[in-house]
């Protein structure tokens, strides 16, 4: 058994086929509207995305799912899955998360199978759950025995990293500038993990109105590099 480092590196690798490569989660709208135009404006938007969207949605979901499995009550995953789906009011982002979640669940069942993940995947197949990457990865991290805070840190960083990769292609910004952003955001990831640990289950799914509108607008962009 490894200390979990290699599985985390694998799951976080930008080549890992999670589907995140195809989704900008509203950022493409900001790029086309000239709100996000370069390194600085992208970094600011990504920071708010981390502090609001990831902390209150995907990140908190990952923590709550992880804790459900710690309590040995995987049925808690169903509630989290349903809340994540129903709180996402922009169709493309909701569908994107659903497809990524299902695909990731199947892939991770091949690579890092566990009873909890197997149950979640069976719920997805029976259409009792929609599927969401945060829940899938929580199951994988938990089954690998990754401590909760490290799991959240990895999860948040992986999300930021894929958005940076997309920004490099989409805005575009330079590779080095992108990596610099990831470095600069590292302290904020630590703070975000602390924020997530301080929230309560009732906080799950709080949305950011501006981002929701950008995600909704994406449906109507004429030229699109990304599916959301």
């Amino acid at each position: 058994m490894t200390n979990g480092l290699m599985p985390l590196l694998q799951l976080s690798d930008s080549q890992f086929p999670s589907g995140a490569f195809s989704h900008s989660f509203g950022f493409e709208t900001y790029i086309q509207e000239d709100v996000v135009t370069g390194t600085e404006s992208f970094k600011q938007a990504l920071l708010v995305f981390l502090k609001k969207q990831l902390v209150f949605n995907d990140g908190l979901a990952c923590r709550l799912a992880y804790e459900s499995m710690e309590r040995d009550s995987p049925e808690g995953l169903l509630d989290i899955d349903h809340v994540l789906f129903a709180t996402c009011v922009a169709r493309e982002t909701r569908e994107g998360n659903r497809k990524m979640g299902e695909r990731l669940a199947k892939l991770c069942m091949e690579l890092y199978p566990s009873p909890d993940l197997s149950e979640y995947l069976s719920w997805i197949k029976k259409k009792q759950a929609y599927g969401h990457p945060a829940v899938v990865l929580a199951a994988v991290y938990h089954s690998l025995g990754i401590p909760k805070e490290s799991a959240l840190e990895t999860f948040l960083f992986t999300n930021l990293s894929s958005l940076v990769q997309n920004a490099v292609r989409g805005i575009p910004i330079g590779q080095t500038a992108g990596q610099k952003i990831l470095l600069d955001l590292q302290p904020y990831v630590i703070v975000a993990v602390e924020s997530i640990m301080g929230l309560c289950p009732d906080d799950l799914g709080a949305g950011s109105p501006g981002l929701e509108i950008a995600q909704m607008h994406h449906e109507r962009l004429n030229v699109r590099l990304f599916m959301s």
Partner: protein, 270 residues
Amino acid sequence: MRETGLLSLEAKKRHARTKIHGYYEGAFKFTRPVRLDDDSLSVYLIHVGGGYVDGDTYESTITLGEGAELAVTSQASTKVYKTPSRPVEQHTNIQLAADSVLEYFLDPLILYEGARFIQNTTIELESDAVFFYSDIITPGWSEDGVNFRYDWVRNKLKVYQNGKLVLFDHLLLEPDEELEGVLQLEGHTHVGSFVLFHPNATRELAERLYENVYESFPDVRLGISDMEDGGIVVRILSDRTQTIERIISHIHTFARGELLDKGEISWRKY
């Protein structure tokens, strides 16, 4: 615990007409039902105090029987003042039986300096029940002219369809250095939402609604998308209550025409 305001309203269809029953206590009241020009039945909710203050709790239940049709609005905006010890809580539970129609349009929520407000609205729809809804959240006037002096507002709207959660609109506004920036309110102060559920509220209808609204309000920041199970959600950012009210009324009229075969609603309150 005793609620500051309690209200229970039930509408039933009898011989092709909707009849109202109910009761209220404390700071809540509702008017006798008023029949509007187009034969819609309407009820006006009233708060008999000056506004919501520290620790207030409000509880409302609205139930529509099979086939009943009702339009509900308020007589004035909801004002929430300073809550030094406990946030104000308002809980509303709405049950809509098969084929009933509820149009629920409250006036804006205004949050003053130091206000903390929790609002939970839960709607349970049975098959083919119709629900139209809007809300507007605005910061109240403050002595120093700064817009965001409230502490926070947590607004939750949950819609269940035959027991399944189909929409959970969860908004948490907590003024900080980022609230007015990108992804959040983007330089605006007011947030408006319009939600509708109708068996014929398709993606195609959402698309036509967007084109229609965009044509009339090209300069307003708003988004429209469709949910599974016949839902449409509209999100609006603006600096003026009147602008959001005009858009909401425009969408309401569009939805009435397309889905209820009715014209513009003319509330009896101004």
